[in-house]
């Protein structure tokens, strides 16, 4: 019997496992994780979301990491509506935390001002450890070739539809185009049931109409990201679609003054059939209205003549240059990318995954239609702003709600399309001029 022949299956398996462990250990060693200084302090501003459980999961994880590494952690959860004001005041007073959660808008503006440290090393290390970053996430979080934030979740709009109502009317499948959505809506409209629950007011949800506009070929600005380009035949085609649906009373009364909760409230009240939503209304229905939850299906946003525009919105972790503990923050970011934490967090937060390995997490296994929809969104979604250039001026136009206001000129003030487009074109150009 040769020596080699004395190796049993158990020996081979054991050796393989040992080799794998060594390989993992070696890889971790090669990545040279940031050194954490014991006894140091780390303050973290987390982005408060609607799920208390998700907020607690984040806070507990950070505090546990701190306890394990001998770092004093202080976690402050910030209402995301107040982030701009709080960060602004903190920068002015020199009291920025050691790390914080930010949305892409704020990250772009502050990275441009040199407020954040580059985190390419941490970004690459996390990507390497977890099967790589999902391509749309990788693209969306790249700021002129650099990384100033570590993505940890993707939000974006899905199309929620009342499958129970639509199936009975002969529409078992989700509309694939906005024109088809109108056709379906015409068949089921019956006041006080108004199918098209899309906000047209001065709220973030109103900017969903920008995606519809872009799917018709409309653009906010040209490819250089400097010249306004809203006045076009494509915009005219979009406005024609919109006004037609509005005049047919397919939109509920009140949409022109809806706030961010308008579609949630209307969907929960059962007075609309469609909504473009991150899934929060579905999660609420799961608990409060099981029938509505069962009757709801989720799909990608419909498309227009130029395809589907369904932007993803990355949430990121960043480190201010003034951070007193940047190495600690980087090590924390790596810790928060571990599946043990992310699985628990995603189960309660309505965010899609950012890393390739996260697709394998049980929460994205398809049992939960909302999380399955978010996974689908991440895979099929478009980059923020696409086909426009997502820069500070574009973000300014979005935050000023210039497109919802153009729509209101048409449907509320009854302006003709050219007049509304002319006013918006001038406002967009004035906005872009501020950044040149």
């Amino acid at each position: 019997m040769s020596r080699a022949s004395s190796w049993t299956r158990r020996h081979i398996l054991g050796a393989s496992a040992g080799a794998a462990a060594l390989a993992i250990g070696a890889r971790h060693g090669a990545l040279a994780a940031p050194a954490v200084q014991k006894g140091s302090t780390l303050t973290y501003w987390g982005g408060l979301i609607f799920s208390d459980q998700a907020n607690k999961t984040l806070t507990d994880a950070i505090n546990k990491w701190g306890a394990d590494h001998g770092v004093r952690t202080e976690v402050v959860m910030i209402n995301q509506n107040d982030t701009v004001q709080k960060v602004s005041a903190a920068i002015a007073s020199g009291t920025m935390p050691d790390a914080l959660d930010v949305g892409l808008d704020l990250l772009i503006v502050l990275a441009r001002q040199g407020v954040f440290l580059p985190v390419d090393d941490t970004y690459n290390a996390i990507g390497k450890d977890h099967g790589g970053w999902l391509p749309p996430v990788d693209k969306a979080s790249n700021l002129n070739g650099g990384r100033f934030g570590i993505p940890f979740g993707i939000s974006g709009n899905m199309l929620l539809r009342r499958n129970d109502v639509l199936s009975k009317a002969g529409f078992p499948n989700a509309p694939t185009t906005w024109a088809e959505l109108v056709t379906q809506s015409e068949k089921i409209v019956k006041p006080p049931f108004f199918p098209m629950g899309f906000c047209l007011g001065n709220a973030g949800d109103g900017n969903t109409q920008v995606n519809v506009l872009q799917s018709y070929g409309g653009r906010i600005a040209d490819d250089s990201g400097k010249e306004a380009a809203i006045k076009s035949d494509a915009t005219r085609a979009y406005l024609t679609w919109l006004k037609d649906a509005y005049d047919k009373k397919l939109f509920p009364p009140g949409v022109t003054a809806w706030d961010g909760a308008g579609d949630n409230n209307a969907y929960a009240a059962g007075t609309i059939a469609f909504a473009a939503n991150t899934g929060s209304v579905g999660i609420a229905a799961r608990k409060d209205d099981p029938d509505l939850y069962q009757g709801t299906l989720y799909s990608a946003l419909p498309g227009g003549p130029k395809g589907v525009i369904s932007p993803i919105g990355p949430q990121l972790r960043s480190i201010p240059k003034t951070s007193k503990n940047p190495d600690g923050a980087k090590a924390l970011f790596e810790y928060l990318a571990q599946p043990g934490y992310t699985g628990a967090y995603y189960a309660n937060a309505i965010y899609g995954p950012v890393l390739a390995n996260e697709e394998q997490l049980s929460v994205f296994g398809g049992k939960d239609p909302i999380l399955a929809g978010l996974l689908d969104l991440v895979k099929k979604g478009t980059a923020p702003g696409f086909p426009d250039v997502y820069n500070a001026a574009y973000a300014d136009v979005m935050n000023s709600f210039l497109i919802p206001k153009m729509i209101q000129r048409v449907v509320v003030d009854h302006w003709d399309f050219d007049r509304a487009m002319d006013e918006t074109q001038a406002q967009i150009q004035a906005t872009y001029n501020k950044y040149t």
Binding site: V109, T256, A266
Partner: protein
């Protein structure tokens, strides 16, 4: 030696000594200085700094640089700014007039000897006591076109069977905001006027009655002069508060639909949202002259009232 002594005496005689009045004045100034420094630090500095920022292109994270009147030019060319001038004036003037009418009427009513007037007074103060957030979200629900209280009342009474989009139409949005603003603000007028009414001596009314004055004549000759000062100051204060009021518009319409309810505070908030701090400050600064006039007028009136 004698010269030295003489010199010392002369020096002691020539040394200027503060009079008692001057010493008191110095002491008084010394006492006031900490307060003045506190006011300068807490009010003067932020106030002047806001004016300075309005002339810069400051954004979040960057102090920016001096841009002259660029922010003001941008604002003047904005349709929202032009609308906000008109809307702010309309809301202030109309809601003040309505609050005066309601506050005065109720104060005159409650000033009578009525059974249960104490409870009535307390109930009337409720809108003022409630958090603005709750008040305006409640009004938002009342104005809902589908299932909102107002439309349900109209439908139930058989007056209208459709869906009036109170907050979503240009014709109704601003009046809807004004009604909610008046509801929230009238108790301040009511309580101020009631307090003034109670300082008018009953003998004056008795004398007027003896002279044969009717109710209107008594109001004009006795009541109105007695409450005039309070009404003026209340008007000025209410105008300042209403012009600066943010929650009423933001929670009801966010300045829409179109620009039908856009007001200065909401416009400034949009500037903050877009991280354009210079531009947001410019919005506030444009309100400054009007508000300053109102503030100075209110202060002068209050002083004159105190002297009278």
């Amino acid at each position: 030696m004698s010269v030295t002594t003489h010199g010392a005496v002369a020096a002691s005689v020539k040394r200027p000594r503060l009079s008692a009045t001057a010493q008191h004045a110095l002491f008084a100034y010394g006492l006031v200085v900490p307060t003045v420094l506190l006011l300068l630090g807490l009010i003067g500095y932020p106030f002047l700094y806001a004016i300075f920022i309005s002339f810069t292109n400051r954004v979040v994270g960057n102090a920016g640089h001096f841009v002259g009147l660029a922010n003001f030019r941008f604002l003047v060319n904005s349709p929202d700014f032009r609308a906000s001038v008109w809307n702010t004036i309309t809301i202030v003037v109309v809601s003040d007039a309505a609050k005066l009418a309601i506050g005065l009427s109720l104060a005159l009513l409650v000033n009578q000897r009525l059974p249960g007037r104490g409870i009535f007074r307390s109930i009337l103060m409720l809108p003022w006591a409630m958090p603005a957030f709750v008040v305006f979200l409640t009004w938002r629900v009342i104005y809902q076109p589908i299932g909102g209280g107002l439309n349900l009342i109209l439908t139930g009474a058989g007056l209208y069977s459709g869906y009036i989009d109170w907050l979503g139409e240009r014709a109704t949005a601003l009046p809807a905001v004004i009604v909610a603003t008046v509801w929230r603000g009238f108790p301040f007028w009511f309580i101020s006027i009631l307090a003034a009414l109670q300082t008018i001596p009953g003998e004056q009314y008795e004398a007027a009655r003896v002279d044969g004055a009717n109710a209107w004549q008594r109001f004009r000759a006795v009541t109105f002069p007695g409450i005039r000062q309070v009404v003026i100051i209340t008007t000025l204060l209410s105008s300042i508060w209403t012009a600066n009021s943010f929650e009423n518009v933001w929670l009801l319409t966010q300045g829409g639909p179109s620009d039908s309810t856009m007001v200065f505070p909401v416009l400034a908030y949009f500037g903050m949202q877009t991280m354009q701090l210079g531009q947001a400050a410019a919005v506030s600064v444009t309100m400054l002259p009007v508000l300053a006039i109102l503030v100075f007028a209110a202060t002068a009136m209050a002083q004159r009232g105190a002297e009278d």
